[in-house]
Amino acid sequence: MCNRDAALREIASLQDAAARDTPLGRLDPRAKILTVLGFAVVVVSFDRYAVTALLPLALFPLGLAAAGCIPLGVILRKVLIASPFALMVGLFNPWFDTQSVALAGGLHIGAGWLSLASIVIRFVLTVSATLLLVAGTGVVPLCHGLRALGVPPALTQQLLLLQRYTLVLTGEATRMQLAHALRGGALRGLPLAQWASLLGHLLLRALQRAQRVHQAMLSRGFAGALPVANSYGWHSCDTLFLLGCSAFFVLVRGVHLPQALGAVLLRVAA
């Protein structure tokens, strides 16, 4: 129950962030989607042992958070509790990849530890960029952007309806489960028979609701496609954002910035 409430609060917090008028929010959704996608491709294109070379890329999510006035704490918390599958798979690397790599100063480290560190950094970078994309855009503009980029309207319509009815059905499920608990049932972890009955009724209600929704949509002139208000246009600042970020990604990908920085510092120190 509490994880459902937490999930709802999280959706709400991201929606709230997107509703504010910020420099990031004013950009065309297409520009943001393309940039974040390019970011993900650049992040995963690094060599599997790349650790320090990835670090400058963290400036991109930080920049998004700054431009969107999105609280970093919310994003970081969500990254930490996000699916630990990647980390679990990554944790096996130090065991299976035991080839040792020479570090400076005669130290040695297992290559698996380097690739584990790389996986962790990749995970944080890609996940936080995706969350910031949503928090800085909002669902409706995001769906419009996806539609404009050629995603089939069947899917974008689904996304709009899904985010609308998730809140409705989750609320209904919460009330049903609460009613069940008040009559002496378990609050979480129902026995299978009760679970099937509860969810079966919820499913029946959902089917009836779908019929009512369809009637309502028909009476409002629905003819196969949801209208999406188009209040966006591609401006020069969108081009600038896309090109600027891409140039930064290519620079980080092509030049090992931390290495160059370290060389400068060592020369100064010498």
Partner: protein
């Protein structure tokens, strides 16, 4: 078992994106020609139902742990495979965007593992033939067995997909056999639990709304045939596999796959800021690092970009030289600093405009 961006190589991610995108386009074409008018709201509400159902856990008898349903087979049964695939794709997209399950690049693979495997393999090849075989009035037990079997097999395929994608990407060092032995039995257990739960739900709804299941007993597809010709699909699939194969071959023989292809396309090693001063400065710095044996260990000096033969681990060497470590630590500190500044500024702005 969402795949994550962090475990992907670009070639594998792109290949599975292509496969899922083609399926998505084909399914939505098919949907447009469908006769059912109420399908759009029905899909939306049922996708929301799956989303909600995944948040309500039931206890697994005898273990004390709990489980939830995946929903792919349930939606296929209620909506048909094409609408179900789109609904599952929307659920996965929302999970990727709002709950950080997977990521944008991994979304294609997740749609493949959890959508294609259940909607286009387990449902039409296992559930439907068996149900048709069972006749017009199958018994409860029979429905339950068939549903469980289809769920288990669909999930096994999905788990296999995760293993194959992880192996092809080569970011994880898990050996193939070990990973398979880890994933398949775990997902057999999960599949059994999910299957029993899905079966319980299907049996319940079958009794309450038998009209929804009329199509199970139909001898053949009543809907008009596929608009996207099968040979188009086959062509796209072949193209996707070819692209993936060629790209991953480059990626494995040249560890710096992206750079290599950029070099080929543009005829020079680095495209960005081709002749700008910043680039020249950085490039000269890089050259100097390699010329300063006091600072970089000889074995650890970074090979210059144009060197024809690369050592086995180019970036490990690049990242572990003294300059690389010092620079890495300083970069990390700088990134942290920027983060703190951003946070501070946000606190201030939040105070100003509550």
């Amino acid at each position: 078992m969402h795949m994550a961006d962090a475990l992907f190589s670009p070639a594998v991610g792109a290949t599975f994106w292509a496969a899922s995108a083609v399926t998505l386009v084909a399914a939505s074409r098919r949907l447009q020609s469908d006769q059912r008018e109420d399908l759009v709201p029905l899909m939306g509400v049922l996708a929301a139902f799956v989303f909600t159902a995944q948040m309500i856990n039931f206890t697994i008898p005898g273990t004390g742990s709990s489980g939830h349903i995946g929903g792919g087979l349930l939606l296929s049964i209620l909506l048909g495979p094409h609408a179900a695939f789109i609904a599952i794709a929307s659920v996965l997209t929302v999970q990727a965007l709002f709950f950080a399950d997977g990521g944008l690049l991994a979304l294609g693979a997740n749609m493949f593992n959890m959508g294609v495997c259940t909607c286009f393999v387990a449902y039409p090849l296992i559930y439907r033939p068996l149900m048709r075989h069972a006749g017009a009035k199958p018994s409860r037990q029979r429905v339950a067995w068939i549903t469980t079997l289809a769920t288990v097999l669909g999930l096994q395929l999905g788990a296999l997909g995760v293993v194959v994608q992880t192996q092809l990407s080569g970011i994880s060092s898990l050996p193939l056999g070990g990973f398979l032995l880890l994933m398949q039995p775990i997902h057999l257990a999960i599949g059994l639990v999910e299957g029993v739960a899905t079966a319980a739900l299907i049996v319940f709804v079958r009794e309450a709304r038998p009209d929804l299941f009329a199509r199970d007993a139909l001898p053949a597809q009543a809907a008009p045939q596929v608009r996207v010709p099968a040979r188009w699909l086959a062509g796209f699939a072949a193209l996707a596999v070819l692209t993936g194969g060629v790209m991953s071959w480059f990626a494995s023989s040249h560890p710096d796959g992206l750079e290599w292809s950029i070099a080929r396309v543009t005829g020079q090693a680095n495209v960005a800021d081709g002749g700008s001063r910043v680039h020249a400065l950085l490039a000269s710095l890089q050259a100097e690092t390699a010329l300063l044996p006091d600072y970089a260990l000889p074995s650890a000096s970074e090979p210059s970009r144009s060197e024809p033969e690369q050592p086995a681990w180019p970036t490990v060497e690049a990242g572990t030289s003294l300059a690389g470590i010092v620079g890495g630590v300083v970069t990390f500190a700088l990134v942290l600093l920027v983060g703190l500044v951003v946070r501070r500024r946000q606190r201030l702005t939040l105070h100003v405009q509550p």
